[in-house]
Symmetry: C2
Subunit: 208 residues, 2 copies
């Protein structure tokens, strides 16, 4: 059985700025919705303005444009993942426990910031903002791979799988959650994190 660890969902209080009802948080939430539906390239400020039911000037009151919305949205996902990474790194425990904590908290971040992480996972690097996000994502993946390597050196992770491949499959499982998980799901984020850790670390097969 996996150790029970509380999922840390570090969601900052929504930043409020501008007129009531259309604060930056609301604009950002709708922007991410539209980006995920039409793709960032296919979504225009016109689309956002229509969806929000306000003039474009009402959006420019909060942000300089579409690219700033993208940057804020991707940072929302990346900041969450990096807060989880920092918590895991600060843990005074063997690498395998830091890794398990990171997987667990990353699932929490995915569930709590689902549309933002969905957007992040679709980024292909067409703009500076996207390339910066990809660089932060690659650094996160490198941290995961280094934790897997360290745990393998400790003898806690099976030595017959390349650590980079193991790290990829591990976060492949975590990231696949955005394809089907919905906040209204009957599976709570912490039950989801339990299931991911149980399968990834201990396997589906009953140990006899």
């Amino acid at each position: 059985m996996p150790e029970q660890v509380t999922v840390t969902t570090v969601d900052p209080a929504p930043r409020r700025r501008g007129r009531p009802g259309y604060d930056l948080e609301a604009v950002l939430r709708v922007a991410v919705e539209v980006f995920n539906e039409r793709g960032y390239d296919g979504a225009s400020m016109e689309d956002l303005s229509k969806r929000l039911g306000i003039a474009k000037s009402g959006i420019y009151h909060h942000v300089s444009g579409k690219e700033e919305l993208l940057r804020l949205a991707l940072d929302r996902a990346l900041d969450g993942l990096w807060e989880a990474a920092d918590l895991a790194r600060a843990l005074d425990a063997p690498a395998i426990e830091r890794l398990e904590r990171l997987v667990r908290d990353a699932v929490g971040v995915l569930a709590a910031r689902l549309p933002y992480v969905t957007l992040l996972l679709r980024v292909r690097g067409n703009t500076d903002v996207e390339r910066a996000a990809l660089a932060r994502r690659r650094a996160f993946d490198a941290l995961v791979a280094s934790l897997v390597e360290e745990a393998e050196r400790d003898g806690d992770i099976r030595p017959d799988i390349d650590p980079k491949l193991a790290a990829r499959l591990l976060f492949g499982t975590v990231n696949s959650i955005v394809e089907w998980y919905r906040p209204a799901s009957s599976t709570s984020p912490s039950a989801l994190a339990d299931a991911v850790c149980a399968i990834a670390f201990d396997g589906l097969r009953v140990r006899r």
Copy 2:
């Protein structure tokens, strides 16, 4: 250690029709490339014609249009997955072994038909062809879930994870491969299948 099973990659001989150099297979291969780059909705017959360096009439010589290319491409992915499913179902073995065989062969299909499966996994159901593909994909997922359930009833799979959730995470891992695997990778399809099965069924953690 996972049992060594040969990965079955059931790739049909390319169908040849039309003039040399631009057979249906070549047209389909380029169409899938363009669909994956621009999205099906964003790709035009004009784009395909430019990429192939032939007139649109050269494409219409092979297919009735863009939608037929999509159907052929999605069937290429789905036929592969269903051949793997039929092989697994026909196996005279406990459910957990049929499930493991299916995971292994599905990884083989993904690696061998990577662009086709990538296209399939991005389908959202905007056209009849896409909806038909989604229905076949859902039936495949239901088969996976039923194998997990059966293996859980047999006592071979841990009872603390909902079978539907386990099936989702299992194929989430498999499907995540399309995000990074490339045919030129140093990891062979069968090493990849071994790693997926080792992690999913037996876990990363060393058993003590």
